[in-house]
């Protein structure tokens, strides 16, 4: 069981074909990076960080993700500590100051850099060693990221490897990753175990609908060629209702997640309280437990837009969407 989880999650990161061939197993021994490798990563990094290139869509998606994370954390602060605390947090430039944040499948570090700039102690992990190299190289050029007391760190690791360590995080994000892993259930429970009690889990992925097939595969990959062909696989897309039903039944083990033997208990019912306890009509979760919000690319502005909560029962989550769920304090 233990080793099979390792193997599955080792494949989680390589969602862009140009990096797939450089993929190495997470179990492979890594060495400290030398100058020749830095030059090598620099060449690669021009693809990850070319904002006008193949990953332009991903770059443009980043602001809306960060805004959403910021918005939800402000909202939770309001729920926990009231309006004054929310105002105080909002007025801070570094809105995530003092928080431990994990970015699972960080790729070239697009999201991790933004989170670190907002003051979070950020750890970006990726199972592809070359991605980690790219992320490191890119951040090292930016004095804001490389000198502010090591608030940004990258590791070549998978979520399952981190589960075996004692550390948990206030915020765990995994953006546009889950539709690329082989065993999404194991991946979800690994992510969930990394969240502190009262902490937040943010995911973004694509719903399995005819619309999403048309937009993300037919249009984006084959017609417009905005995204490299083969980036997405329709059968791996995940519907919001599937994420919600996972967290309705998810009961993490009550004991410390640092003991490797607990991995076997993943998803089995030891804890009294699931993360999502009830749903409204259409299977919608309650506002304080979880939320699904669609995001839509507006071609004429070149920006992604967060759909309003009330646009449809599912927040217009017919294609790309963001998912937020909060771990209860007492779970």
């Amino acid at each position: 069981m233990f080793s099979s989880v390792q193997r599955q999650t080792a494949r989680l990161s390589h969602f862009f074909p140009q990096n797939a061939r450089r993929f190495q197993s997470a179990a492979a021994t890594s060495s400290t990076v030398n100058a020749a490798e830095i030059a090598h990563f620099s060449r690669l990094s021009s693809t990850w960080w070319d904002e006008r290139g193949e990953l332009a869509m991903l770059h443009r998606m980043n602001p809306v993700r960060v805004r959403y994370i910021r918005e939800k954390l402000l909202e939770s602060t309001f729920e926990d500590h009231g309006e004054d605390a929310r105002r105080e947090m909002e007025s801070r430039r570094e809105v995530l100051k003092g928080m431990d944040v994990l970015d699972v499948g960080c790729g070239g570090g697009l999201l991790s850099e933004s989170l670190a700039r907002l003051g979070a102690r950020t750890l970006g992990i990726d199972a592809s060693e070359s991605n980690v190299g790219i992320a490191l190289t890119h951040a090292s050029v930016d004095p804001q990221l490389s000198s502010s007391g090591n608030s940004l760190e990258y590791r070549h690791a998978s979520a399952e490897q981190l589960v075996k360590e004692p550390k948990q995080f206030d915020v765990v994000c995994s953006m546009e990753v889950i539709e690329h892993v082989d065993n999404p259930l194991a991946f979800l429970s690994a992510c969930a175990q990394l969240v502190k009690p009262g902490g937040h889990l943010f995911l973004s992925t694509i719903a399995r609908t005819p619309l999403s097939y048309f937009l993300t595969i037919l249009a984006a990959e084959h017609i417009l060629r905005e995204v490299a062909v083969g980036t997405h696989t329709y059968s791996k897309f995940i519907d919001p209702s599937e994420l919600i039903s996972f967290f309705q039944s998810y009961r993490p083990s009550a004991s410390s997640p640092s003991t490797p033997t607990d991995l076997g208990d993943m998803g089995s019912g030891a804890s009294p309280r699931p993360w999502i306890t009830r749903t409204y009509a259409h299977g919608l979760p309650t506002r304080l437990e979880a939320e699904v919000r669609g995001i839509v690319y507006i071609p004429w502005t070149g920006e992604w837009k967060l759909m309003s909560r009330s646009s449809t029962p599912w927040g217009a989550a017919q294609c790309n969407y963001l998912f937020w769920v909060r771990r209860p304090m007492d779970s």
Binding site: T32, D50, L118, R155, H156, T301
Partner: protein, 556 residues
């Protein structure tokens, strides 16, 4: 074993960075978040706007470089009856922005003058349009005439009170290059004092010949008008007790270019006279006492008479007496009564008393020109193809004249620049709240999107105005005159035009819609008139299109 391998791969940026940076950093290289090249109004306003935002003030390291001596401007002062010759109309929208960033209080208000009314008329047909601030709801003035130095001094004083911006003056930018490495590296700005600035974001506020724009590899398109602007500060008699105060701006569209009279104080106004280069040369070098007579004539005499005066001037009739004689001759032959406001050389209008009927239609008579305020400069149209650098020129952004140059006839140049600065500072503030790299293309895209089309719209409208009014062809003159007189009767259309031009910034969208609704009502009322004149206007437009076609193909 697996766990250990993963732990070893853990790399901390702090240690790696030192080794990595060593090969390109030197002792004289400094990291900065925003490097602004150019200490003109746009560059200074950007610095001031950024530090007015608490997040930007706290987190950004901002440097401004200016080749000139800014301390002279900071200590600038003039006697209260003398004015600088470079004056701008600060629209209500720009004023609102300057108030928001805390700069407007630093402007010496006694040296500014409100504009309540604008009178614009056709040099050939005399068709006139009057814009009045009272037609815009909730606004008392359309714009405020302000010396550029007054504004620049205010910006500098504001910045010296907020030490977060480092202003490097009397230092030139020697060269700009990209850091060794790939395109993700930052621009390096080498200064004449030996310093090198490393810039997360390099802002080109460096004017028409922008070095930042060349570094960014952004091309620009445009043309020079065959026109020079002559500027001067004018002394004239104060308006009498039976007249409105000196709050009206006048502009007459002559076929050689518009001549504008901009009020600065009860007895002082500013001149911007756009005209053909050979005339501009003669005007700016004319002997004392000549230019004021020519200005008075240019606002008053019919076009044919003006052509005659220009001809005499170019033939060498350059003394004050000769010019006065020629103007008096034309006034008599045009049948201008010496008691009319249109008379200048033969004017018998007394200083006090009841002014002639038409006195409000014309600026007061210029009596003298303030010493050494006559200057002239060429006019051009220029628009950068993009405001953001890409690839080897990434991490650059253009504002103000570096991005666009426009004909001054609508007084929009400075206001467009301030509009850029407002949008860019808001864009940067927004990027900071979402943790973006403020030098990245993605973070700056909203700025370009907000401003590019907006500027283009204003610039081409101004350009078209210049071209339509340069024509002497009968149908064009007729069409533009009918058009302007019809619009002049439609108060709400005029109000909408003024709001578009930046007057009345505090209006909400709702009242904009109200205005639109009103204009539709008005238009319905005018349908009959339009039907009557419709066919002839059609002919005029055809002629206009033909004319434009000839111009375009002629240029090819």
């Amino acid at each position: 074993m697996v766990v250990f391998a993963a732990r070893r791969s853990l790399a901390r940026l702090g240690c790696r960075q030192r080794a990595f940076l060593r090969y390109f950093s030197s002792e004289h290289t400094r990291d900065n978040d925003v490097v602004i090249v150019g200490g003109g109004p746009a560059g200074l306003a950007l610095a001031a706007a950024l530090v007015s935002n608490p997040a930007a003030k706290e987190s950004l390291k901002i440097v401004l470089i200016e080749a000139g001596d800014l301390s002279k401007i900071q200590d600038w002062g003039m006697p209260s009856d003398a004015y600088s010759n470079r004056v701008s109309s600060i629209t209500d929208a720009s004023q609102h922005f300057l108030k928001r960033i805390g700069v407007w209080d630093y402007v010496e208000h006694a040296r500014t003058n409100p504009v309540h009314q604008m009178q614009v008329w056709d040099g050939i047909s005399g068709a006139r349009i009057t814009f009045d601030a009272s037609e815009i709801p909730e606004s008392s003035e359309m714009a405020r005439m302000t010396e550029n130095l007054n504004l620049q001094r205010a910006l500098l004083r504001k910045l010296s009170d907020t030490p977060n911006v480092q202003v490097i003056q009397s230092v030139k930018v020697e060269s700009i290059e990209r850091e060794a490495g790939d395109t993700n590296h930052w621009p390096l700005v080498h200064l004449s004092n030996g310093l090198t600035l490393r810039a997360r974001l390099l802002v080109g506020a460096d004017g028409f010949n922008s070095p930042v724009r060349s570094f960014a590899g952004i091309s620009s398109y445009g043309w020079s008008y065959d026109t020079q602007a002559v500027v001067a500060t004018l002394n004239h008699a104060s308006r009498g007790p039976f007249q409105a105060p000196n709050n009206t701006a006048y502009q007459r569209f002559l076929p050689t270019g518009p001549i504008a009279f901009l009020p600065l104080s009860p007895g002082i106004s500013s001149l911007v006279w756009s005209t053909k280069p050979h005339l501009a040369t003669v005007l700016s070098k004319s002997s004392p006492g000549v230019l004021e007579q020519l200005i008075n004539a240019a606002f008053r005499l019919p076009e044919t008479s003006l052509q005659y005066i220009y001809k005499r001037l170019l033939e060498g009739a350059t003394s004050s007496e000769e010019i006065k004689g020629e103007i008096a001759f034309r006034e008599r032959s045009d049948g201008i009564s010496s008691h009319s406001a249109y008379a200048s050389a033969t004017s018998m209008v007394s200083k006090g008393g009841i002014p002639p009927d038409d006195a409000d239609a014309l600026p007061p008579l210029v009596t003298s020109i303030q010493p050494s305020t006559i200057a002239s400069f060429p006019l051009r149209y220029n628009h950068a193809e993009s405001y953001l650098g890409e690839g080897a020129g990434s991490r650059t952004v253009l504002v103000g004249d570096a991005a666009h140059t426009v004909h001054p006839l609508a007084g929009q140049g400075l206001n467009l620049g301030l509009g850029d600065v407002d949008a860019l500072s808001r864009c940067i503030a927004q990027a900071l709240t979402q943790g973006s790299d403020i030098g990245s293309y993605t973070a700056l895209m909203p700025y370009a999107r907000e401003r590019y089309f907006e500027n283009h719209k204003v610039m081409s409208a101004v350009d078209k105005l210049h071209k339509v009014y340069s024509s002497t062809a009968q149908p064009v003159v007729w069409a533009r005159s009918v058009g302007i007189e019809v619009i002049n009767e439609l108060d709400s259309v005029k109000a909408a035009l003024m709001i578009n031009a930046g007057a009345g910034s505090q209006l909400q969208n709702a009242s904009g819609w109200d205005l639109l609704a009103k204009s539709i009502e008005n238009l319905a009322g005018f349908t009959n008139t339009s039907k009557m004149i419709g066919s002839t206007v059609g002919a005029g437009i055809q002629e206009l299109a033909k004319n434009a076609g000839q111009r375009i193909f002629g240029r090819l």
